[in-house]
Amino acid sequence: MVCRVKSKAEKKYLKRLIWAMSVYVVVVLLAALLVRHGYVTGWMLYVVAVVPCIPVLRLIHVLALYVQEETDEFQRLLVVRSILCGGAAMLVVAAFSDFLRSYTKIGELPPFTMFLVFWFVFGLAQGVQGMMNRAVGDE
């Protein structure tokens, strides 16, 4: 297996991504716990629903920072393509679910599906592009 040397921007990106993902998971679990045990009711539910959106914004910010800081333009292109793939997949799934719901009253997706779809397809696109552009052997 050929291991690619990570750029300075990529190392920073991975560190930031792990932090942001961890914060997101903790916030989501904490919010779910508070709601489930009835500590939060009424208008406070809106606040609890908004709070996990902050780490989500941070995740997008982390991606934006990487695109801004990466000096290797080809690597930058690969990440931008992956973001587009993730965004496209998320929109397609959302549109399909919305149309299905409006026509048949079924098709409601479980919570957090969109989040998972985006990151799964983003990761998949990164992997596929990595394979397609693999530099095999040092010529």
Partner: protein, 64 residues
């Protein structure tokens, strides 16, 4: 766009990794440029030209 990067690199006896280090890009990027999968931006094309002491059009050739 066609290019002579692989030939020029071979003349210098550099590996893709050597060239990538000199250009401050990844080896994957050098490979993508050499195989024609990716056309570099103007700043990177100038950097490549400076490194090989050639004009851009001596390295890159418009295939249109």
């Amino acid at each position: 766009m066609n290019n002579r990067l692989r030939v020029l690199r071979a003349e210098k006896g550099w590996s893709q990794a050597d060239l990538a280090d000199r250009l401050e890009v990844s080896r994957q990027s050098v490979n993508a440029i050499e195989t024609g999968k990716y056309d570099p931006s103007l700043p990177l094309a100038f950097k490549i030209a400076r490194l090989f002491a050639k004009r851009i059009e001596e390295i890159f050739e418009d295939s249109a």
